[in-house]
């Protein structure tokens, strides 16, 4: 009996969706707008994250060691840095490599190169390039480098200079910008989702309002509430699923067209990301869409079930 009823409810939901084509099309269109907003948000989040990651990658702390520091001492320092939870990785640049890099950087500056030639030995110390997991953690790492424990590692002083303090202002500013962008993105997402839910809810309420007389007739013919509202809930879910499929179809050519610009600006192939994650994205959209359709239908139909 229960299975027969469920079968009838699902079938009626599908039949109603097809027969009320104009109402269904308008509901699906509104839902597509909502899902487009949500999908745009998901994709722009991916872009933002990729852009932030690139900016973050460009930031590091350089520790210039003294010329007298032995490789052993420097490696000891490197190891002690690597065990810090804040540190992502530490790259060692030897004195010789530092010289090669210096020469490369100043290859057009013959005066500097000439002055370098005059010296008997390599004036540059080895360098440790430190990358932290988060930008905010650089301050902690700098403090660690300044601390006595590190200085006491070797008998003599091995750190010549830490360039964090030169970069501090830039790092702090960038940190603030990144936090602001993340907070703004989150607030915008919340506002957009609330507006979307309200629009979808109102549209579905209208579609059910159109059927209010039918609902009254169904009750007078002796149908119970579950039997009446079931097909409306199924219709709500179908709105969500169909809209999710159509939104995916709309986005493909859109990305195909805009991808070259996006790749140019953000160095991210968004189209490949979209294609390789298409099933996951579809599940998210279909889930949000059908949940919205279902919840809106439940709330909208309650008003008319009290006859």
């Amino acid at each position: 009996m229960l299975i027969t009823n469920i079968k009838r409810i699902i079938k009626t939901g599908f039949v109603n969706f097809c027969r009320n084509s104009i109402v269904s099309i308008s509901a699906v269109f509104v839902m597509i707008v909502t899902l487009t907003a949500i999908l745009s948000l998901i994709l722009s989040n991916v872009l933002l994250e990729s852009a932030l990651k690139q900016v973050k990658n460009k930031i590091d702390i350089n520790v210039y060691t003294t010329v007298s520091a032995s490789p052993d001492e420097i490696f000891k320092l490197k190891e002690s840095l690597e065990v810090l939870p804040e540190v992502d990785k530490v790259d060692y640049v030897s004195r010789e490599q530092a010289l090669v890099n210096f020469k490369e950087r100043h290859r057009d500056d013959s005066l500097t190169l000439q002055a370098l030639e005059e010296l008997d030995e390599n004036p540059l110390g080895a360098i440790l390039n430190i990358k932290a997991n988060e930008i905010s953690q650089y301050a902690g790492i700098a403090t660690f480098l300044e601390s006595e424990s590190v200085l006491a590692e070797g008998e003599s002083k091995i750190i010549e200079k830490v360039n964090y303090y030169n970069n501090k202002i830039a790092i702090d500013k960038l940190n603030k910008i990144i936090n602001a962008v993340e907070n703004f993105g989150f607030s915008a997402a919340i506002i957009l989702v609330i507006i979307s839910i309200m629009i979808t809810f109102n549209t579905i309420r209208l579609t059910i309002f159109i059927s209010r007389k039918e609902i009254g007739v169904m009750r007078l013919v002796g149908a119970n509430n579950n039997f009446i509202q079931g097909p409306f809930l199924i219709e709500g879910i179908i709105y969500g699923l169909v809209s999710a499929i159509l939104t995916m179809i709309i986005f493909y050519p859109l990305l195909l067209w805009t991808n070259p610009f996006i790749e140019n600006m953000f160095f991210l192939d968004l189209l490949s990301y979209f294609i390789s994650n298409s099933f996951k994205i579809f599940l998210i959209l279909a889930g949000i869409g059908s949940f919205l359709g279902l919840i809106s239908s439940i709330f909208a139909i309650r008003t008319y079930l009290k006859v």
């Binding site: 169904m218 007078l220 509430n225």
Partner: protein, 226 residues
């Protein structure tokens, strides 16, 4: 048996639509309720269908106090009472067959029962050939016959027909009344409201209750007196 016991209905604007009505309707009876518009006929039926509750008094169907039926049980009660309205009230996006089948689905009938009973009932009201038509493709008389088929398909104890001929021409009206008479002869109690004298004349010596300003002013067999 249906029993109205001193039933009064006052709406929020304090107008007494039904005023102290007491009636008894026996099983298998054919009762017509007549009166001008606003006499209280439809409100009386709405209270019987549990669409409205009386301000005062009781309505019993057999031993059940209709006003005390829980919301979840109203569907079961309504499956025992078929209803036909002046404006047909068919489901517009369903065919004649599906409209009738809906009443059976709502009462939990199996697919086999539906497949055998629906065509049979539609044939009874002479719509066998139009069972796959949508209401918009049917004439008023045909729509009303679908509504009657829907009302009787679950073999209800009572059939309530609220001005069923109000939107029909005299030919179709006679047709509908003769269908109602047939249904009554098969053992279903019929309660009919109308303000059409010719319809009452067609019914011969059946019981006629006359209402005016919410009160029953006459209750006797045969004829229309207003």
């Amino acid at each position: 048996m249906i029993y109205f016991d001193k039933v009064t209905k006052i709406y929020q604007d304090k107008i007494k639509v039904v005023d102290d009505v007491s009636l008894t309707i026996e099983p298998e009876e054919f009762v017509s309720i007549v009166g001008y518009s606003g006499a209280g006929k439809t409100t009386l039926l709405k209270m019987f269908l549990a669409e409205e509750s009386p301000t005062d008094g009781y309505i019993f169907f057999e031993s059940t106090d209709i006003n005390k039926i829980k919301n979840s049980k109203i569907g079961k009660y309504r499956q025992r009472v078929g209803v036909v309205f002046q404006d047909f009230r068919l489901l517009p996006n369903r065919t004649a067959y599906e409209n009738v089948a809906f009443a059976m689905e709502a009462s939990g009938k199996t697919d086999e029962e539906i497949a055998s009973d629906v065509p049979h009932v539609l044939n009874l009201v002479d719509l066998g050939e139009k069972m796959w038509s949508f209401p918009r493709e049917l004439s008023g008389g045909e729509q009303q016959r679908v509504a009657i088929a829907r009302a009787i398909v679950n073999q209800p104890d009572v059939l309530v027909a609220d001005e069923p001929t109000g939107n029909l021409d005299p030919y179709n009206a006679r047709d509908i009344i003769s269908i109602l008479q047939k249904i009554n002869e098969l053992g279903t109690t019929v309660i009919l409201t109308t303000h059409n004298k010719e319809i009452i004349d067609l019914l011969g010596d059946k019981r006629v209750i006359t209402m005016e300003n919410g009160k029953v002013i006459r209750d006797e067999k045969g004829g229309y007196h207003l």
